[in-house]
């Protein structure tokens, strides 16, 4: 499952979600500001508290920020 860690006020988080949608990727978005378990999972993944947007497909590798090339590589799109 593709996961996107975001916060509500972040325009780059919106851009990542719109990009994935435009490429037909099914994903679940988690708001780390409101969801403590998601925040913990995101910290565990990146080692950084609150750094978003983060995209992951395997909970091991991830892309931080809107980096189209890296997102495409990560998800094989």
């Amino acid at each position: 499952m593709v996961k996107v860690y975001t916060i509500q006020s972040c325009p780059w988080c919106e851009k990542v979600k719109k990009y994935l949608a435009s490429r037909g990727v099914n994903f679940t978005a988690f708001d780390v500001e409101k969801d403590a378990a998601a925040r913990y999972a995101c910290i565990k993944l990146t080692g950084m508290d609150g750094a978003v947007p983060v995209v992951t497909a395997d909970d091991k590798t991830y892309v931080l920020d809107f980096d189209k090339e890296q997102i495409d590589k990560l998800l094989g799109i």
Partner: protein, 312 residues
């Protein structure tokens, strides 16, 4: 694989107020319009919380205003692509070439409305601490600094508003600026009354320190000449903006400040190429004048295209 070639009547570079207004007008004139944006749709106002000087609104959020404008433009057929970045342009030929990572657009007219980017922190350590203590988007990265010590660098409205916003997260927010405030009185009063904010004017950040992430900054008190080290977890840089014209520097005349030289008719030195909004060299740069430029550029682009068809 060779890139696909696509013809457009008008390619608009930038989806801020000027670019989207141009798209709305050009779309309404039945032109085939593409808007390319490689940052955030809305540009500098995308995150503005209370716009109180746009006619017709008592107060409006930047995202709402720009969202509505984008829908208006799209309703008239304009297409906004915010995922494909321009790699080069060739404006002196006809049609004009706008090459992106994915396609080659052949455009009869081009409207440049690429706006401004935030100026980077001019210190050699900037790269080391980028996203690890040095930030440019308080809305994106402020959440990283819950109960931490934050510094906002800058003295304009954007800096002062960023400081107010960041008090939502930080336990302490310094506002550090090398001279006096340029922010308006209302915004200044708001931060002066906030107990979490400490204002340090006539103060410069001279160096950044930290191992893997930012831990402290050296600051110079310009009045006393005293240097000291301040423990800071994150800096949000708001020291102004610079025109986004790197793509055009070999094609168009730029002013000493790096903006495109074009008259009030938005016409550049190249026929069929227009500059609109903050990227154009002009005295007044407001949201309303960006909308005005977008209107002018689109209407005159349509006239140019009509003449072009007559010649053919």
């Amino acid at each position: 694989m060779a890139k696909q070639k696509v013809h457009k009547d008008v390619v608009i570079i930038g989806a801020g107020m000027a670019g989207l207004t141009a798209a709305l007008y050009a779309g309404r004139m039945n032109l085939d319009v593409l808007v390319l944006e490689n940052g955030i749709v809305g540009g500098q106002i995308a995150n503005a919380t209370d716009i109180e000087n746009f006619p017709g609104f008592i107060s409006v959020k930047g995202s709402d205003l720009i969202g509505t404008l984008q829908k208006q433009a799209e309703n008239f057929g304009a297409v906004v692509d915010e995922f494909d970045s321009i790699v080069k342009v060739s404006l002196r030929e006809n049609p004009k070439i706008v090459e992106t990572e994915e396609k080659i657009y052949e455009a009869d007219a081009v409207i440049i409305a690429s706006g401004m980017n935030r100026r980077k922190l001019p210190l050699p350590e900037e790269r080391k601490f980028a996203s690890r203590g040095v930030h440019y988007c308080e809305f994106c990265d402020g959440f990283m600094y819950q109960d931490k010590i934050i510094a906002v660098m800058g003295g304009g409205n954007a800096a002062v508003d960023a400081a107010s916003f960041l008090t939502k997260y930080g336990k302490k927010v310094y506002v550090i600026h090398r001279s006096e405030f340029r922010a308006d009185e209302v915004s200044q009063r708001r931060i002066r009354q906030n107990p979490k904010i400490e204002i340090m004017l006539q103060t410069e950040i001279k160096a950044l320190h930290g191992d893997k992430k930012l831990e402290s900054v050296d600051i110079l008190d310009k009045k006393s000449g005293e240097m000291k080290t301040l423990a800071v977890d994150g800096i949000f840089v708001n020291i102004g903006v610079e025109p986004n014209t790197a793509l055009f520097k070999d094609e168009l005349k730029l002013s000493p400040s790096g903006r495109i030289i074009a008259g009030e008719d938005c016409k550049t030195e190249i026929e069929g190429v227009f500059a609109a909004g903050d990227v154009r060299e002009k005295e007044i740069r407001q949201l309303t004048t960006a909308a005005s430029d977008g209107t002018t550029a689109a209407l005159l682009a349509e006239k140019y295209l009509a003449r072009l068809k007559e010649v053919v």
